[in-house]
Structure formats: structure tokens, C-alpha cells
């Protein structure tokens, strides 16, 4: 199976608002894909549908051949924008939580990354800063040996120094068999690690190319092209 994710005419309407409008995409394994668009363009809606957190209004979507459900949740590792960790837990409790529920969770890898960022596994999440919590979440998500990583704004709340570490972590921790989808509007920071880009606007895909194609055809960086396409 070449493509990890395929969707056809995928739509999601909230009342009269079309958050996603007939999106047709296929995402091959082994790629890092930037899902780019301004606020409200449908990035999070798309990712939530992939995670089975939202039910599409129309169209079909398959991840690893399955419709979103328990089977896809086993192979999809998702980093939401929200802080979803229980405040009363210790970092080590959360590690065991992940180990318990995900067969592909590599706890050694997680401990190793925590050490590198000097996060003590015995601290309670309550006492960690917002940025540190985000790092813990990213470590948890990237310590799974998943087939599809869905990262919603992974670098939004952390400082530039930590951004580099996070991007490095992402590149280092996905296998050739897996794909990574990163949604963001901080393009210049992540451009260097992307293979492909998808531009979303008002729920529709307006561009889907490899980064090399973008550079060759327009002679611009992805960031510059984004600014041009989405000029207000």
C-alpha cells in the first residue's frame, strides 16, 4: 500500500458553514507534508476527521485502508493544539498511560527524549509551564512508532530554540513507512523539513505540490508563495 491516507470529496459542514469542501487528497508514506492555510481554512477540521474526533458530512476517507475508528487510532499518532494531559498526573504516569493503551509506544525512547530536554519524569504536570507541557505532549506523540503522525500546530507555543529540537525530533523519529502531516501557519520555521505542501483555503485544496515543484515553478520559497496566495 503506497498511500497511507486517501480521501475523496471529503466535506464537513457546520450548519451553513463549509469547514471542508470536497477535499480529495492522497498522502504517500515516507513524506513530511505541510498542511498550510490561514486561520479557519479547515486544517484542524481535516485533522480531527482523520482522528475520528469529527464525523464528515460527506465523502470518504481511509487511513491505512481503514475508515477512521479503532483500527486507525492504533496507527495514527495525533498531537492536538490543546493541552490534553491530566494535571494531577506525573510525567511518568502519562508514560505508563501511553504504554498501556498504545502497543507501538516506545517508552525508552520517550524517557530518553525527556532526559535530553531535562524534564524530570517525577514532576507533576500541574507544576510544568505551558511550553514544557507542549514538549511533553510532542515527546509522547513522537515516541509512538505510528504510521501516520498528525501534528496540529506543533511549534506554536514553544520558543525558537525548542522549535529546532522539535523539528529535529520529528525528522529523527518517523520511519520510512510512516508519513507526517504538520499543520501550521509558521511556515518559514518548518519549510526546511517539508517534502510536500498542501494549501487550504476556505475548506478547499488550492495547491498540492512537492516543495521542489513549488521552488522550480514559482521560483519562490513556500513561505513567499503562501504570502502571495493568501494576501489579505
Amino acid at each position: 500500500m503506497h498511500n497511507i491516507l486517501e480521501c475523496e470529496n471529503l466535506s464537513k459542514h457546520f450548519g451553513t458553514v463549509k469547514a471542508l469542501d470536497s477535499v480529495t487528497l492522497s498522502i504517500p508514506r515516507g513524506r513530511i507534508v505541510g498542511l498550510l492555510g490561514p486561520n479557519g481554512s479547515g486544517k484542524t477540521t481535516f485533522i480531527k476527521i482523520c482522528c475520528n474526533l469529527l464525523t464528515p458530512t460527506g465523502g470518504i476517507i481511509r487511513i491505512g485502508g481503514f475508515e477512521p475508528g479503532v483500527d486507525t487510532k492504533k496507527i495514527v499518532s495525533y498531537l492536538p493544539e490543546k493541552n490534553y494531559l491530566n494535571n494531577w498526573m506525573k510525567v511518568s504516569d502519562v508514560l505508563h498511560f501511553f504504554k498501556d493503551f498504545y502497543n507501538d509506544f516506545n517508552i525508552e525512547k520517550a524517557r530518553d527524549m525527556l532526559d535530553k530536554l531535562r524534564i524530570d519524569a517525577n514532576t507533576r504536570l500541574k507544576t510544568l509551564s505551558k511550553g514544557t507541557k507542549e514538549k511533553v505532549q510532542l515527546i509522547l506523540v513522537m515516541s509512538r512508532e505510528a504510521q501516520l503522525y498528525l501534528l496540529d500546530e506543533p511549534i506554536g507555543g514553544v520558543d525558537p530554540a525548542a522549535r529546532d529540537y522539535i523539528l529535529e525530533t520529528i525528522i529523527k523519529n518517523y520511519s520510512e513507512n510512516a508519513a507526517v502531516i504538520i499543520s501550521t501557519h509558521l511556515i518559514s520555521d518548518i519549510e526546511k523539513i517539508l517534502d510536500d505542501v498542501i494549501f487550504l483555503k476556505d475548506g478547499q485544496v488550492i495547491l498540492s505540490k512537492t516543495v521542489d515543484e513549488v521552488r522550480d515553478e514559482s521560483g519562490k520559497s513556500v513561505d513567499a508563495l503562501f504570502r502571495e496566495v493568501f494576501r489579505c
Binding site: 474526533l53 464525523t55 495525533y78 492536538p80 494531559l85 491530566n86 498501556d100 493503551f101
Partner: protein, 278 residues
């Protein structure tokens, strides 16, 4: 997976209940010593006239105030225990599944019904343990001679309605508990369909569910009264014989179980198809 969910549900809730039960029992023990009532005083005076009690002395007044104060704290704890059990039931469902933590819970490779069932079973466990803690605190509080009569009471009830009657009664209580918890889950899930004022609307939904289920119960009661219970006309609840009593509670248990199954399916559908986390 259900077992793992339940394990974490217990971990997340035990830190509220265990200290609460401990405090409750300590306060009951304190009350055991401070408990003082004019009635007991009076009885002692007549039973053993030789025992001299400090009548209206300063100590007696202080003791009276202490006793009343401790009793007040105990009653507050008693009520508080059940209020806390209810609040934790609501809060675990609302926050852990439909709040930000829902992003974690609903991306676990687990079916929605397993989430509901794990929350339901653990909430039932705490309702049960809270009742046990409350009963224990009463046993600590009341004089030993009264406690000694409790087995007799059970024996009498068993004689009256039989062992199968006890089982039916327990089943009726359990399905009543399941029903009352599922009403909350359904109401919160329905309230969550809206984009604003979700808690307020959950409450409105609860009132709606309550009204609808009351209506169904009333309708079925009327139907039952005209059919199954027709020959019993004019008999009050206390005059029922054991078989009639068991039949009544058996039907109640089945009815609540059926309505509960309906709510369980509805809640599962809402979480599966209509989930919309903030």
C-alpha cells in the same frame, strides 16, 4: 481495554473519595464521644439514679454546644459525601471525555461504548462505597445495642420477601442507579451538541430527559395498573403479599433496565457520530 480504562478511572477518582471517607469516619468517631442529648441524659438518670450528672453546670452547656457542633459537621459531611459523589460523576464525564482531555481519550484505540461503560461502572462503585462509608459512620455513631439488632432486621426482611425477593430488590436498586447515572451522561452529551452555554443546556436537557422518563413511567404504570395489577385494586403497597411485592419491584427493575439500555445506546451514538470537542 475496558479494564485499562477502569483502572485509570479509579486512579483519577480515588484521590477524591478515599480522603473523604477517612474524614467522614473520623468525624463519626468524634461524634461517638461528643454525642449528648437530653434524652440520653434523662434515661441514664432514671436507669441509674446513683450516677450523678452535672445537671445545668457550665460543663454541661459546653458539652451541649460541642455535641451540636460536631453533629452539624457530621450531617454536613454525610450530605456532602453524596453531593461529592454526584459532582465527581458529572465532572469526570464532562471534563475527561468532553473537555480538553477528550482529545486524548477519544484518540485512544477504544470504542466509545467502552468509555461510557468504564465511567458508569466506576461511578457505581463510588456510589456503592459512599453508601458503605455512610452506613459504617452510622454504625460507629449509634449505641451497640441498636447495632446488634441489625441482623434481625435483615432476617425479618428475608422472611417476608424471600431470598429471591432480596435479589429482585437489589437488582431494582442497581438498575435505578444505572438509570440515574446514564440520565446525566445523556444530558451532558446532548448539551454538548450546542456551541454555547453547554453546561446550562445540559441541565435543561436533564430536565427534559427526566420529564420524558417520568411520562413513560406514568404511562406504563397506568397500563400496568389496568392489566397486571388489576386484581390488586384497593390494596396499598404495605398490604401486598411477598409475591406481589416481588412482582412489582421486578417489573420496575426491568423497566429501568430497558430505559437505561435506550440511554446507553443514545449516548454511544452521540459520542460516536456527533462528537464536537471544543
Amino acid at each position: 481495554m475496558l479494564g485499562k480504562l477502569m483502572k485509570y478511572e479509579i486512579k483519577a477518582t480515588a484521590r477524591w473519595f478515599l480522603p473523604l471517607y477517612g474524614t467522614m469516619l473520623i468525624i463519626a468517631v468524634i461524634n461517638r464521644f461528643t454525642l449528648f442529648s437530653p434524652y440520653i441524659e434523662y434515661r441514664y438518670m432514671y436507669a441509674e439514679p446513683s450516677v450523678s450528672l452535672p445537671g445545668n453546670s457550665f460543663f454541661s452547656v459546653i458539652r451541649g454546644i460541642m455535641s451540636a457542633l460536631m453533629m452539624f459537621i457530621y450531617i454536613m459531611m454525610f450530605v456532602g459525601l453524596f453531593v461529592a459523589t454526584l459532582i465527581v460523576t458529572i465532572q469526570r464525564y464532562y471534563r475527561n471525555l468532553l473537555g480538553d482531555e477528550g482529545y486524548l481519550m477519544f484518540t485512544l484505540p477504544v470504542k466509545s461504548w467502552q468509555h461510557i461503560l468504564s465511567k458508569l461502572l466506576i461511578s457505581m462503585l463510588w456510589h456503592f462505597l459512599s453508601s458503605i462509608a455512610a452506613i459504617c459512620s452510622i454504625l460507629v455513631l449509634i449505641p451497640g445495642e441498636a447495632t446488634a439488632k441489625i441482623p434481625d432486621v435483615f432476617k425479618r426482611i428475608t422472611e417476608l420477601i424471600g431470598i429471591h425477593g432480596i435479589i429482585i430488590l437489589v437488582l431494582a436498586i442497581v438498575s435505578g442507579l444505572v438509570f440515574s447515572i446514564l440520565k446525566i451522561y445523556t444530558a451532558v452529551s446532548l448539551g454538548h451538541l450546542f456551541n454555547k452555554h453547554r453546561l446550562l443546556l445540559s441541565f435543561v436537557m436533564y430536565l427534559g430527559i427526566e420529564a420524558v422518563s417520568q411520562f413513560i413511567f406514568m404511562l406504563l404504570t397506568i397500563i400496568a395498573a389496568e392489566t397486571v395489577f388489576k386484581p390488586w385494586k384497593g390494596i396499598s403497597l404495605f398490604m401486598l403479599n411477598a409475591d406481589q411485592f416481588n412482582c412489582l419491584f421486578g417489573i420496575m427493575a426491568i423497566l429501568t433496565a430497558l430505559l437505561s439500555a435506550g440511554l446507553f445506546i443514545l449516548t454511544g451514538y452521540l459520542l460516536n457520530r456527533k462528537l464536537n470537542l471544543e
